[in-house]
Amino acid sequence: MASESSIAAGTRITGRIQSDGDLEVFGHVEGSIVAAGSLTVGEDATLKCDLEASAVDISGAVAGDVKAEQSIVLQPGARVQGDLSAPSVGIRPGALVRGHVNAGGSRTATPPRTAPKQTSRAAPAAPREQPASSKPVEDARGGPSRADATKKAPAPVMPKAARQAKKRTTTKRASAAAAPEPVVPALKKRSRTTKTKRRRAR
């Protein structure tokens, strides 16, 4: 619906640009650019702004954070100082970047961490994969393989009963070693010695 829009090389814009379609920038922009479609930054363009679009293709210079719903591609001549965040990020050899990159990687590929075999190292590492910053890969990483993990890794969300059981029975133990043990009412009624024996045996 939106016609081809293009900010020519000699044009300077200071302010906010919003597009409900595609946009090409060859000039100088200071402020912010938000496009619903694709955003192309030409070779000689100089952008001092945050960029947000469905897909971003950069060949020029950008000082600002870049966020895309689908993909970010930095072409060989690109120079970017800022954070990049998108499910797919391509950085061609020759592109220069300085900042934090959050590239999800393909969702069809193997999730990076399946149930780790050893426990002590996994404990500090595994919870790190859950925070909001890994938004794009949450479903790739926190897939069913982790929820199914038995005594090898903590499940992302433990059922309430298991959490209560853990509080009661494990104080010093690292969370990784304490498996999400479902609380069986029948077992609870056993004598104390049995419980202690079981804990020691683990």
Binding site: T46, G90, G99, V101, A103, G104, P112, R121
Partner: protein, 123 residues
Amino acid sequence: MVKDSTGGQRALGEPAVLGQGLRVVGRVRGEGDLRVEAQVDGDITISGQLLVAAPARVTGSVAAESVVVSGLLEGDVNASGSVAIEAAGRVRGDIRASELSLEEGGGLEGSIEADFELPKELA
């Protein structure tokens, strides 16, 4: 062909290999090139090219002249030459290199430090 720190290219020599079934706990050091397909828990420091190839899982920092990742790497990457993350690669850690490339589909979560200057309009 890989790029070294001087920007020159050379053919990959015969690399040492840490094969698939291996599990290494501890530091790995060496001269020359190294191809890792194993699970390594520890830092890797070599003087040549490092290949972290699927199904490798490396947990630790790596330092080499150049690095190519198509497996899993959780740790910082320090290269005097180039770092390439292929589509199957997943890296979580900070990267220092003279050149970095990331194939679309590849995963990266970390900071990149490249030494360059922005045009003066963006200062």
